[in-house]
């Protein structure tokens, strides 16, 4: 212990931890403010905001799952090549021969499903507490965009194993695009506007007339780079706005009650 005390006095220690750990009001505040991750939070919040029965913790859990997905996803990328020739073989290899491969893939898949679930429940909570009302209207809109991005992330990832489940689920999902009014070759007024199977929105989405190797590459790049990047940007805005709009919503106790 004496050694620890000595260590706490070194320049090295003090350069990392800027305040002592003694339980004082001031240190509790510094704990939040001096930490880049924790300073997402205010120093103090109304008590109901720490009550899990109020927020259900669903927004936070959604974010946690996103972090889990980022880490397990990067690990999966080490073992996966997005070409029709290798994708499925790489999956087999991952599931059978890579140490902890199945654990990483399973965690990635189940966290993805769970994130879709928690984002829906988060939205349900925000609705039921009326938290989209002024001044939080815009953050609700940002939230809807995050919901769409979450679904797109999950859907684009579904194709990557390149097995029967993957290509047919994505075939069914993207077939809708044929029927887009004006922009799809089978949609109302599509043919009249010169849409064909090889130039409509579905063609752009798939990189071809059916779910084929170019689709795999397209979905891979979207899944691993484009969509996560956009999602991170919108999450940054979302969290920033939670703070700027006055923190977690609550009844304006003095004014209204």
């Amino acid at each position: 212990m004496a050694l620890m005390e000595k260590f706490r006095k070194t320049d090295l220690y003090k350069s990392v931890f800027r305040h002592s750990y003694q339980d004082t009001q001031r240190n509790r505040a510094l704990q939040i403010v001096d930490n880049v991750f924790l300073h997402l939070h205010p120093v103090r919040v109304p008590r109901h905001a720490t009550n899990i029965g109020f927020t259900w913790g669903m927004g936070g859990i959604t974010f946690l799952l996103f972090l889990v997905l980022t880490i397990t996803g990067v690990i999966l990328m080490f073992y996966y090549r997005p070409t029709a020739q290798y994708a499925y073989e790489d999956m087999k290899y991952l599931m059978n021969d890579v140490p902890f491969g199945p654990l990483m893939r399973n965690m990635h898949r189940w966290a993805a499903h769970a994130m879709v679930l928690t984002v829906m429940l988060h939205m349900f909570r925000v609705f039921l507490t009326g938290s989209y009302k002024p001044p939080r209207q815009f953050n609700w809109v940002v939230g809807v965009i995050l919901l769409v991005l979450t679904l797109l992330l999950s859907f684009s990832g579904y194709l990557l194993p390149w097995d029967q489940l993957a290509i047919w689920a994505v075939t069914v999902g993207t077939n809708m695009a044929r029927a887009t009014p004006l922009l799809g070759h089978e949609g109302p007024f599509g043919a009249e506007l010169g849409m064909r199977i090889d130039n409509d929105v579905r063609f752009v989405l798939l990189g071809g007339t059916e779910v084929a190797p170019p689709t795999l590459l397209r979905f891979y790049v979207g899944h691993c780079i484009f969509l996560p990047l956009i999602a991170v940007i919108f999450m940054a805005v979302h969290f920033w706005r939670v703070r700027k709009d006055g923190g977690i919503s609550g009844p304006e106790s003095k004014k209204n009650f």
């Binding site: 109304p46 008590r47 009550n51 499925y88 189940w110 029967q164 077939n175």
Partner: protein, 300 residues
């Protein structure tokens, strides 16, 4: 029944079970809290407005939640493998082919609408409609606490959309749609050779107006009939406005907001009506209604 259990326990369908349980649990939780608040003169949240320090009071909750979520996730991942089927093969179409579970409500809508509506227009309206919510709901009450009595209409509409239209259509689409997207009760086997005996009819045909003329072109009378029905339905919006425009609520809402809300609500109601037109007759042994309005360019 055994097949139903097999489908329900497919690894990729577990989230649907969780969604069902979660939706019911959280509806119950929110309902209990709302009831309690509605009986008080200040909501419980308003009595908890003293400030507490984030370290440790919030951070410890986050920490515990993180541990719980990670434990569940690791447990789930150790004991249940993500599915990996046969290698992709374009020549082998599974029957039924299903989208991922969260899109199955939309896929189920394909039974009731043409793809341009089910797959494009309705999803777009859902997204746009959700984004519009904060701007069309001008009720200032119930901001930041659970309540039911102060915002009955908003809560009923949202819960209906989420619980009935979104969640239960997902359940229907996943668990009760077999080969050929035919309907099967949980205790029935999915028979790939099952052929539906009932033929679809159009609404006009129920009233003995044939949709098509003998030369197979569209019967103008049927087309006009369809137009009258659909446009007549949507005109409930404007008519209601004219009748009620001087009320307090409508004055506050304003024409633009009212137009958006009434259009979205009527569309939501229209989805329900088409589902009923399609499903109810089958249970009565009558022919299901397919289209309400047939034109050379689009069908509704």
């Amino acid at each position: 029944m055994q097949q139903f259990l097999e489908i329900i326990s497919k690894p990729d369908n577990i989230p649907i079970g969780l969604l069902l349980v979660g939706a019911i649990f959280f509806s119950w939780l929110a309902w209990t809290k709302a009831r309690k608040n509605d009986l008080l003169d200040r909501p419980v949240e308003a009595t908890m407005d003293d400030k507490v320090q984030v370290w440790p009071y919030l951070v410890r909750v986050e920490f515990l939640a993180t541990i719980a979520v990670m434990a569940i996730l690791v447990f789930w991942s150790v004991f249940l493998d993500a599915p990996l089927e046969e290698a992709a093969n374009r020549a082998l179409t599974p029957n039924p082919s299903k989208a991922p579970w969260y899109f199955l409500g939309l896929q189920e809508l394909l039974v009731y609408f043409d793809p341009w509506i089910a797959g494009v227009v309705l999803p777009t309206l859902i997204i746009v409609g959700l984004m519009a919510v904060p701007y069309v709901d001008i009720n200032p009450k119930g901001n930041g606490y659970y309540t039911f009595k102060e915002r009955k209409f908003a809560i009923l509409v949202y819960s209906f959309g989420f619980l009935v239209l979104w969640v239960s259509l997902i359940v229907l689409g996943t668990f009760m749609r077999g080969p050929g997207w035919n309907f099967f009760w949980p205790w029935e086997r999915w028979d790939p050779h099952y052929v539906a005996v009932l033929t679809n009819v159009d609404l006009s045909e129920v009233l003995n107006i044939p949709t098509r003329l003998p030369d197979n072109s569209i019967n103008p009378v049927a087309m006009i009939f369809g137009a009258v029905v659909v446009l007549g339905y949507y005109s409930i919006g404007p008519v209601y406005w004219i009748l009620k425009r001087n009320t307090d609520l409508m004055q506050k809402l304003g024409l633009v907001r009212y137009a958006i809300v009434s259009f979205l609500l009527l569309t939501m109601g229209g989805v329900v009506i088409k589902i009923i037109l399609r499903l109810a007759p089958t249970f009565l042994g009558m022919n299901p209604v397919k289209y309400v309005w047939v034109t050379p360019w689009f069908n509704i």
